[in-house]
Amino acid sequence: MWQTETKIVADTLKKVAEAKGSQDTGWIMHHVLDSRQLDLTPFGVVNLPQIHLFGIDISITKHVVFMWIAFILLVVTLRYVAKSYRKSLVPKGITNLTEVLIVFVRDEIVKPTIGKGSERFIPYLLTVFFFILTCNFLGLIPYGSTATSNIAVTATLATISFVVIQIGGMMKNGAVGYFKGLIPHGIPAWLLPIMFIVEILGLFTKPFALAIRLFANMTAGHVVILALLGLIFILHTYFVVPVSISFALFIFLLEILVALIQAYIFTMLSSLFIGMAVHQEH
């Protein structure tokens, strides 16, 4: 009995290995996953430095490089925008575009969701919005890579949001008042322990959802595009090319929309949670 089962296992493993040899799906993952090198084929491959500190691997990876590119892009652009206001208060060109986004975040996202005392959180939420937006778009350019399709990145961003939410709530209501305010009024006393656990869990599920949503959306689009293009190589025929290209183009356009929407949603929900933490009476 046991022997037959081990034989089955061995067979399956062999089959899997064979399948891997003939039709590998690794190339999709190669594009989506993080790596220790920048693949600039046909111009060559750039190996990124590997750093180890206190036994932790803190090597620079592709996604880190693209986060830094986003960093530089944002700093350069926004510095230019900030300076252009000194010349004239009338926006023009890139200033106009940036201003639309800034005013959108300020007036459509932060003010309605946080309301009073929203000024303190505007810089953080603007940074989140622009950072995620830039990272999302960087994944759509050739040789680009989506840092926001790395769950470590989205989880970290969500954790920072979590910290901002908690600290925002505690600064407004006091640490004790904040945790007291988590429990809705008018709850029977015997329900309190359960409610407390539920509410504490709720605190953690919110950023968890933020992280998973951003990660899944940014990964899925790329996988779909790559899978559609991969049809050409899997089916070994040119007849599928028009279908693949047009579908991939459609998904690509959708990705542009998704890149905007995900940046909006992440900012919007962060702002909403901050608003809920700050004004607990609702």
Partner: protein
């Protein structure tokens, strides 16, 4: 059992360490994300958000003030227009009054002048009439004197010549003819 095994193996072999999975979490990436994001937040807060948001609110205030100013200016202009209208009406009334007054004055002047000239004309006519009368009388008196002289002369001639009846008649007729001329 077979199915479960193969399924499990398939799943695990795909998600092997070598192939890598999207769900793998790299602690280095976490660290770099924190560093990058916090640095970005601090840098942007200093160089971008503060100046940009300040400029935006400055501009918003500027626009608000400008609108208020424009509103005020418009109200003032409207008031001025209303004032002007009242002034215009007053001026028109004044002008009408002046015109009326001058018309009245002219009328009065006209009638006065007319009366005066009428009187003068009457006087002139009267003067002329008296003058004519006087001249008439003068002429008449002269004529009377002449007629008297002629009568005396003709009487003298008649007396000087010897007169028969026919001759007398002829003479009288002749003198009468002379007189006519």
């Amino acid at each position: 059992m077979k199915l479960v095994f193969s399924l499990m193996l398939f799943i695990f072999s795909e998600g092997g360490e070598k192939a890598g999975s999207p769900l793998d979490v790299n602690p280095g990436v976490i660290l770099w994300t924190v560093v990058t994001f916090v640095a970005l937040l601090l840098v942007l807060k200093k160089i971008a958000w503060k100046p940009i948001l300040n400029s935006l609110s400055e501009r918003e205030n500027f626009i608000k003030e400008s609108l208020e100013k424009a509103d005020k200016a418009q109200k003032e202009a409207e008031k001025m227009i209303a004032d002007n209208k009242i002034g215009l009406i007053k001026a028109e009334e004044e002008a009408q009054k002046i015109i009326d007054q001058s018309r009245e004055y002219a009328e009065k002047l006209k009638s006065q002048i007319l009366d005066e000239s009428k009187v003068q004309a009457k006087k002139l006519i009267a003067d002329a009439a008296t003058e004519i009368e006087r001249k008439n009388n003068e002429a008449f008196n002269k004529l009377k004197d002449q007629v008297a002289d002629i009568a005396v002369q003709s009487a003298e001639k008649i007396l000087r010549e010897n007169l028969d009846k026919d001759k007398q008649i002829k003479l009288v007729n002749k003198y009468l003819e002379d007189l006519k001329n």
